[in-house]
Symmetry: C2
Subunit: 121 residues, 2 copies
């Protein structure tokens, strides 16, 4: 069973974290065929943490967990902090395939998305 973990920074504003959780629900519609389990986790401030999120996916039966850094630019969080946490998780869960994708800011579709935000107003 494959899981996707959408990792964002986490905010003190609960509404901001809620926004990411809602995006996760939309992802279930978009990617439900590719991932049976889709959750969100937070690097800082909010819960669940990344280790907690990975653990939750595994407890729900995931044999693979794809960690997607929901970040726009490769600052320290993307370059160092998240890979380090994922490396620890890989050591902790040897029977599970845990991988990390590039952050979403590098997507080739980003200019188009920006264009659509301006059109949406």
């Amino acid at each position: 069973m494959r899981a996707l973990l959408l990792v964002s920074h986490g905010s003190r504003r609960q509404q901001s974290n809620e926004e990411v959780n809602q995006l996760c629900e939309r992802l279930v519609e978009e990617m439900g065929k590719s991932f049976e389990v889709i959750h969100s986790a937070f690097l800082e401030i909010a819960s669940p943490s990344i280790p907690e999120g990975i653990k939750q996916c595994i407890e729900e039966g995931a044999s693979s967990v794809t960690v997607l850094p929901y970040f726009l630019a490769a600052g320290r969080h993307v370059a160092e902090d998240i890979p380090s946490i994922v490396t620890d998780a890989i050591e902790k869960h040897p029977g599970v395939s845990i991988s990390i994708t590039r952050h979403i800011g590098v997507s080739e579709g980003m200019p188009q998305l920006i264009s659509s935000v301006i059109k949406e107003g």
Copy 2:
């Protein structure tokens, strides 16, 4: 003349800021018909600041500046800090139409973009 100012957080890693500047260059290709001037600016840490970026657009002849918060979730920066800076700029440049769009995280195309990042690997 219309200008677009892509506002991101700013990072201590110069590579991260450079990534946003490169995105701006791709935006020129995507949106060159809608905006004659496209620049990036940073809320914190990196240069130019948002007021500097707006000033630069105006000095290059912009009669309207669209500020686009390149942020994924509506934390304090999106909800308070950037609108406050833009409000100050509006007062400072009465002859220029300065507006702000929603942040990109709310775009309806985001689930698809996430899907494409996973496919890109």
